[in-house]
Amino acid sequence: MEKAKIKASQMFILVVLFEMGSAILVGLGVQAKQDAWISVLLGLAGGLILFLIYYRLFKYYPDIPLTSYVQKITGKWIGRPLGLLYIVYFIYCATRVLRDFGELLTTTIYTSTPLIVINSLMILTIIYGIHKGFEVIARVGELYFSVIYFMAFVGIILIFVSGLIHIEYLQPVFEYGWRPVVNTFLKQTITFPFGEMVVFTMLLPFLNDSKKVKIACMGGMILAGINVAITAAINVATLGPELFSRSNFPLLTTIGKIQLANFIERLDVLFMLYLVIGGFFKISLFFYAAVAGTADLFKFKNHQNLSFPIGFIILCASITIASNYAEHMKEGLEVVPIYLNWPFQIIIPTILLIIAFFRNRKKKTSTS
């Protein structure tokens, strides 16, 4: 494993950028219509509880990543394949985000550019970042954190000034009852984006002060969750629940509506700026987790050598993962949450925690 050390503030920023990453871009919780923001906040609450599970696991093994302590908890014969599965899961997640990202650009702005061109340039940039190491990624995060907040600030002001906000679109709350909200929460928001914090089980050992893990990560999740909820609410208030639930990329539609003094209009670039930054960090962290896991599992001394082959896998998979966008979305909404996210983010960590709890209790009683 790389010998990187990052500060708590850097970890915080990485968590925020990672969580917001693509969650702001795609319509999160659209099934809940105007109550999307409630399901996002519910997801945040669920995500925080999930993070406590990861945090407990980290507490038991503060110096090693998930792929190592899986072996310590379940033994070598179950642990190693399980670690491998996690690596594949991380690669798959990175692939999905890259595809989302490429699809977004090809369907909106670069309609005649092939997907592979867009994706390969993005992955090249990310490979360069991975090659430079985790510390550098954290620093780049700090650099762009303020840029993102500046853009968000400008964007929100412009939306308000253009008079696009209709609070009545957000009412009535719970028009269809609590069922769709809870349904969205369980099927989507708890796992995406908040359950994806499982990536940080690979990255927490890099923090230089292990006492600050809780505040850095949970603080970051809360900030990101609130931001995503605000974005969802603004989207609904601008577009109305019907258009919001039909739009592929509600935020892009919202930004497209900005019109001010016949001069400031068509600010798609703001959106694209955010897209590249958010996409970069989301893919980078999944990618880095996969690289770190592989290096850890197969005892590679130099993680840099892995960045290119794994990057290439991600690129190829992002093209072949689905034949078109509709298929990609259907997989993402119906298959992935239940058959991948639930087991990897919730079920396996919970089982691991229970086993770890008993193992460590046994150890404690035997030593005392």
């Binding site: 702005i109 780049v140 650099l143 068509r266 670039v269 590249v276």
Partner: protein, 535 residues
Amino acid sequence: MSILSKILKKKQKQRKDDNYRQQQDPQKPEDLPILRDYKENISRIKGEFGNSNDIVIREFIHSKHRGALVYVDGLADSRVISDFILESFNENEIVADEIDYFQFMIEKAVALGSNKVIYNWNQVYDSMLSGDTVIFLDGYNKGISGETKGWEKRAITEPSTQLSIRGPKDSFTETLRTNTALIRRRIKSPNLWIESMKIGTVSQTDIAIMYIKGIANEKIVAEVKERLNRINIDSILGSGYIEQLIEDQAWTTFPTTYHSERPDVVSSQLLEGRIAIIVDGTPFVLTAPAIFIQFFQAADDYYSRFDISTGVRLLRILAFIIAILGPALYIAGTTFHQEMIPTTMAIAIAAQRENVPFPAFVEALIMEVTFEILREAGLRLPRAVGQAVSIVGALVIGQAAVQAGIVSPVMVIVVSITAIANFSTPVFAMAIAARLIRFVLMGMATVLGFYGIMLGLMFMSIHLCSLRSFGIPYMMPIAPFNLRNQQDVFVRFPLWAMKYRPMFISKGNVIRSGENQKPGPPKQGDDTQTPKGES
């Protein structure tokens, strides 16, 4: 690693060692002692220098003792030699036998600023070639080296590349001693330490490392020394050589050491805990470690009030962004994102571009390359021809080019703005980096519009964040972020509020000023404003 590659590596290493030895042997320092017979010494010098006619050998007889003095004409001050050495020989005084003649010469006869006794040939060549006079006395296997340095030097003039409005107007010269003196005059502290060394197996260039003991970080001082000691090259002809040989990252366009020709700037860097490297023969002094934002801090920022200097600094950063992005944004806007441009303006641009036969990228490339050629030519032209080039240049990237239908007027504006913006970066090394990056981003914009530009910028940020200068992250107070060190980044704090030195450089001693430095009107009840007697 396979066995084969191990063997290969071993062989390579051996070959390297052999090469190294071959190179080293002929230039092995002469450890031979000085001979008792002064004639033999003289003939040795004649032989070694191949009868070069700037070597002056003057034999003399003084009070029954024979001897010779040797110096290099042009490096030594011949007036000093005749006044203070030869004069004392002509007095025809007889030195008593019981007095050691050698001791007499050192103490009485050679009335120079500093004399030292030398014993071997290495020292002889050293002092001769640095302008000192060597005296051989018959019967002594040692010599005297008297300080008579005095070659033609350029006077201290106004800085030619880093101008300032309110700051001091002196600048460094090619002479190392003058340069160290310029700094010493500003920092009158015994803690200002100078360490010297010679680098360059043939050129034997004098190098001085300056730092303030107690402020500079000892680890970085040691690192600088180690890197300088590691240099094994035949010659150092300028501080640029040193810069390229001690960088952390060789593959980068961004400068990772700072250089300045202003003594006030170097002094302020020293006071922040940096280390200055002065190279004899170059009016540019290197300082390290350097951080990115440093290249946007000009000397005038500190001589004018903080609000103004903050504004100006932000302007410089904006200019840097324009210098990087200008043509790229034009290309992306006209080829990919026409909808971004306000409609009337888009129509105007389209109408102008109607007659232009080239795509935007080619158009931009023609103009940018032309401008770069003009600029490069302008640097090297004899003064007399300079005016001609500026007239021709104005035609090429001006009205004539537009009328000929090669480029559109908007393109001319874009190129001009970019060029002017590029000149506002205070340090040339950073400005030149921007020039190179601009072309890369133009290419990216051509392929993928704003997305390409964004990826290019992302690539650049990763690169910048990965750079280090003597172990200090290049983007230091911004990424990794450090709240206490934001006093001199985007906003230049008022001097009374800049309490700390950059902490990442001088670890430990970081307090710069005392408490309550904020000036203000006299306290109430103090009668300093109204003259006494009036009240």
